[in-house]
Symmetry: C2
Subunit: 640 residues, 2 copies
């Protein structure tokens, strides 16, 4: 058994949706990363299939054409949800409600469904399009993980060692039965950071010795994807059906498929006496038929089926010395009926990777602790919501004395992903009027920065910024604000100066720009000396004038940075849209005469809201996070 050694900044273990999202980030930021997977191919059928609007926003933030573009071209849109209940001797429609995610908080995407395999393929295509980017290394098994605790604080070190082994073709059939002597060479990967996105049975989690808390219930469900042959009128609508014989949830899918969740009844003890292996597709259809009486149900093609027991399990912590991180099913499992799993999992790694990039670049490792803070809180809420949802689905609205509409309203904002709000940390400033006893636990010695949310009354600190239409000043194109907030690793300062029609504002804004690009500006001190001024922080202007009222190129360079090979950056100045009737100032609750400055994190979450002219607070905020040690400042170029 021979071995070789290599070094990498980030090793991702597991190429499911969460791992692929991490790879997309790494590719976008040109991070030196690898992604390995034990399996020889992506998922083909079944597994997760629900995508909510925040996930589509995130997918839209990668590439052009974006990952979301490809997904939406194939996915099935979930526009309406209907509830059916048992009346006398058959089921009847009791409610019919809009899914309506496209109307939530400046979102623009509906809820959709698409099998996990196609979602994974869209990420693989994205990585493929990015020429010299990361490729999935398959048939690679991790064998051993060791963290050198003496080195975890040294930001130049590679303190995590992972032994990985390539399975030979003849071993692939039964990888569990390989004897040591038969194995091919072991590679020792020394990594700065490791991310375990290796699913519910996570090898990484076990290697860290982390336990999952929680347990399964005695509620058993079958899940199956089929092309139904049926006279049920709502077969292409997402349904919740409560009948005397049990309950069914359905989700229409791409290519004529429908996913069915069929209740199989309860067992006496908590799920352990239930033999899932004996259930066949025909068994499931028979039960489903009984529940859906008097409607017919049959199938010619069944794509996939499985049986599961409802339960919620959560890891106590998502990271280990802020060097090894866990995301997705590796740290939280729950019932699939809410269609949240794949979304929360991808949003985990979406929260993490840009922080790793920043920590590597700046040497500031303190920001990495926010991963656990932010995502554990989300996972805890997910557990609570999922428990309530499972009860509702099993017992029906009558028992819960709530209409389906009311019930859905209670969790729609959370499930859609747009309402997730991260609490104050070094990355998200608290509001100004915090009680004096508030302490930033993460950064007790740093100067406290606070936000003034009254300047943008409809923005929520810690939430992702809503997207509304704005008009590009130079191209006249009406675009979504999010199109200027792509996942490239950049922090953005959004400046809302209102109108320049008074000469005073224009001059003052020019002065602001000059201070931002001055040698002692935080924009400079946070950026490597030899790198372009907008390599780390981009400054965006959103004004309220007509595009042709003034020559925006007469504003200082930082508002439209010049590069010798590309000329001006024409995608940084926007006018309030007057075309489609969307007013971003009104939508954000910004008063045109006062204006404001909003800082948006690389993951589109609002980090700071402050006075337009107060560069000192803005500077302190960024220097806490992005200030470079001298050795980093002098580096030639920068990867972000």
């Amino acid at each position: 058994m021979s071995s070789s050694t290599s070094e990498v900044d980030l090793l991702i273990i597991g190429a499911g949706p969460a791992g692929l999202m991490a790879a997309a980030w790494a590719s976008s930021c040109k991070l030196n990363a690898r992604i390995i997977d034990e399996k020889d191919a992506r998922v083909r059928t079944g597994q997760a299939d629900g995508l909510h609007c925040r996930t589509l926003e995130i997918m839209d933030s990668f590439g052009s054409p974006s990952i979301a573009h490809e997904i939406l071209g194939q996915a099935c849109v979930i526009k309406e949800i209907s509830s059916w209940a048992w009346y006398e001797d058959c089921i009847e429609r009791s409610e019919s409600i809009r899914s309506g995610e496209e109307d939530l908080l400046g979102s623009r995407y509906p809820q959709v469904s698409l099998c996990q395999g196609s979602v994974e393929q869209a990420f693989l295509n994205f990585l493929e399009r990015d020429g010299d980017s990361i490729r999935i290394e398959r048939n690679l098994t991790p064998l051993r993980l060791h963290v050198d605790q003496a080195q975890v604080g040294d930001h130049h070190a590679y303190p995590v060692e992972v032994h990985v082994q390539q399975l030979r073709d003849d071993e692939l059939a039964s990888p569990d039965q390989i004897s040591d002597s038969k194995m091919t060479a072991v590679e020792i990967v020394r990594a700065k950071y490791v991310l375990g996105t290796d699913g519910a049975h996570s090898w990484t989690r076990k290697a860290l010795g982390l336990r999952m808390e929680g347990d399964r219930t005695n509620k058993h469900f079958a899940v199956m994807d089929l092309i139904p042959l049926s006279d049920f009128p709502d077969i292409r609508i997402s349904c919740v059906i409560h009948s005397l014989s049990g309950s069914i949830m359905t989700l229409p899918r791409e290519g004529g498929l429908v996913r069915f969740y069929v209740q199989l009844g309860e067992s006496s003890i908590t799920g352990r006496d239930f033999d899932r292996s004996t259930v066949s597709a025909d068994d499931i259809i028979k039960i489903a038929r009984k529940i859906m009486h008097p409607y017919t149900l049959d199938y010619d093609h069944c794509d996939w089926f499985s049986v599961y027991t409802v339960g919620q399990r959560l890891a106590e912590i998502f990271s280990h010395h802020d060097r090894v991180f866990l995301a997705g099913d590796a740290v939280h499992t729950h019932s699939p009926t809410m269609g949240a799993g794949m979304n929360v999992s991808m949003q985990d790694s979406y929260n993490l990777v840009w922080k790793i990039v920043t920590a590597i670049r700046t040497g500031n490792r303190s920001i990495l602790a926010t991963y656990n803070t932010e995502r554990l809180a989300v996972a805890k809420e997910l557990m609570v919501k999922d428990r309530a949802m499972s009860d509702f689905y099993c017992d029906g609205p009558s028992v819960n004395s709530k209409s389906y509409q009311k019930f859905r309203e209670d969790f729609r904002d959370f499930v859609s992903g747009v309402a997730v709000q991260y609490s104050p940390t070094i990355l998200t400033s608290p509001v100004e009027k915090d009680p004096p006893e508030h302490k930033d636990i993460q950064q007790p010695h740093r100067q406290k920065i606070s936000s003034m949310p009254s300047l943008a009354t409809n923005l929520v600190l810690g939430q992702r910024i809503p997207s509304y239409l704005v008009t590009n000043h130079f191209t006249a194109e009406v675009v979504h604000l999010h199109s200027a907030l792509k996942s490239t690793g950049h922090w953005r300062i959004l400046l809302f100066p209102g109108t320049f029609s008074g000469r005073y504002v224009f001059e003052r804004y020019c002065d602001l720009g000059q201070r931002l690009e001055a040698p002692n500006s935080f924009v400079r001190t946070c950026t490597p000396i030899s790198a372009p001024i907008d390599s780390i922080i981009e400054v965006l202007t959103i004004h309220t004038d007509d595009r042709n009222d003034f020559d925006a190129l007469s504003l200082p360079n930082i508002f439209h940075p010049w590069r010798a090979d590309k000329g001006h950056q024409y995608w940084r100045i926007f006018a309030k849209d007057n075309d489609q009737g969307e007013d971003v100032y009104k939508a954000f609750g910004i008063y045109e005469r006062i204006g404001c400055a909003v800082v948006v994190r690389p993951d589109q979450h609002v980090a700071y809201i402050g006075d337009l002219w107060d560069l000192e607070s803005l500077g302190r905020f960024f220097e806490n996070i992005l200030a470079l040690k001298n050795d980093e400042r002098d580096r030639k170029g920068v990867n972000v």
Copy 2:
């Protein structure tokens, strides 16, 4: 020199945009087709770059995700066009107008720009996704074309013989200098139909001995694609600049590029004394700089440049015995400044291929004559428009005493492609009140069918049907009507019954459905016996009720045809949209209490407007075109 012989239904010569559009059609209809090209790869830089809204609609009609999806993810949107003129000592903006194609006639796409190479790649990707479909055969040169005139009337025959030769790698460097003895094997392709889409120097056109009419002018232009380094404020807007030193037109493009058309002055005689080979990129920039004074213009990267002389040339006829057809630059060339060329070329072959499919399937070759009728008329209009446009661009608005806005309005509908209206033929019925002397020249012996356009006052016979939002009855999804009119080769009958709330209408509509699916119905007689009832003609219903007001599955089967493996077709019944405020009845000018029937051709053009209940007229219309000879009716299955 050895040779082999093969047979094919359609041989496409030339894999530019027009040829690729033909291949996309052939792939969608599973036509036995081949496409060959002399070159070893697609276009990389330069050439055509303008795409108008009708072209994007057509691209959206192929695949899911569609070709348009991929194009729009990369293209540059042209939202505004500005006009600059010389005032005293420098140019100043005189007008700024909206391009506004997205507002035209129920269109939904803007004008965009993207280099021809990326457009071709999107088609290649589409063909690649369609697993067992057509692949471009490159390095193949056609040598000889012969049409056996004795066989052109026999629809089982392969009367066109084309000799083609594969160029060996060592011959590719200089294909013009290959001696006969060095050549590799010649293949004899016997084709039912041949389409020449081989560009301005078309080998196919020359092989047919067809001449081009028209000539060049004495106006010379340079065209170049570069990333400009400039302080011109409208550099990312499409501009028409008229200065003392000449004129420039610009078109912003993908990836920071801008296309410049720069006037090079006139020569004394009609273009023949002008030596284009001596012009360099720096020469062009120098002239452009002078025109754009006082603004700066420089570049670091020039993608492509070329020099051309304005002129319009048109072939007298586009087909030869309705067995060999020509499309695109092979039959019409003109100046590139209108951005129409690639669009009209692709629309040529989009008009043709479904007709070939129908002729092969039914044995009815008479419909093929409509290709020349319909597309020659469009090309003639293109010549007129292009001449006017060239004059305007060279001489400026002052000479023409017209504002740019007014001028654009005159040609925008035509250039956008949505206003193209095909005249009455066998494929497009005339209006009922035609004067009695009107004769259908193509089909003098067939029974005359006429339309009643008063039943849909905003639809235009012969124009493509506008697309408005409708709600799918079964999925609740709000979709564009065009999404139900994909390019699959199907004819569609759109039935507008209004509301079913009166019991009488519902019963009468059920009766209509039963007559449509009865054994003696034209739907049956136009469809091979063993094929599903919706293989050739699809029946779509667009009602005005709420979706949950009635069970649409209780309507006769033809409105939601059942297949044993897939269940009902859920994409054929729609409700008027009440969600986004678009009323398709109002938009089409259909009175809800009266309703109507509209026939839409496979290329989305309106072919017939008639009484909702008048199946006799509808039947006569279809039987003229689609009635099968007995030997075709009995064929097992059908390719469309």
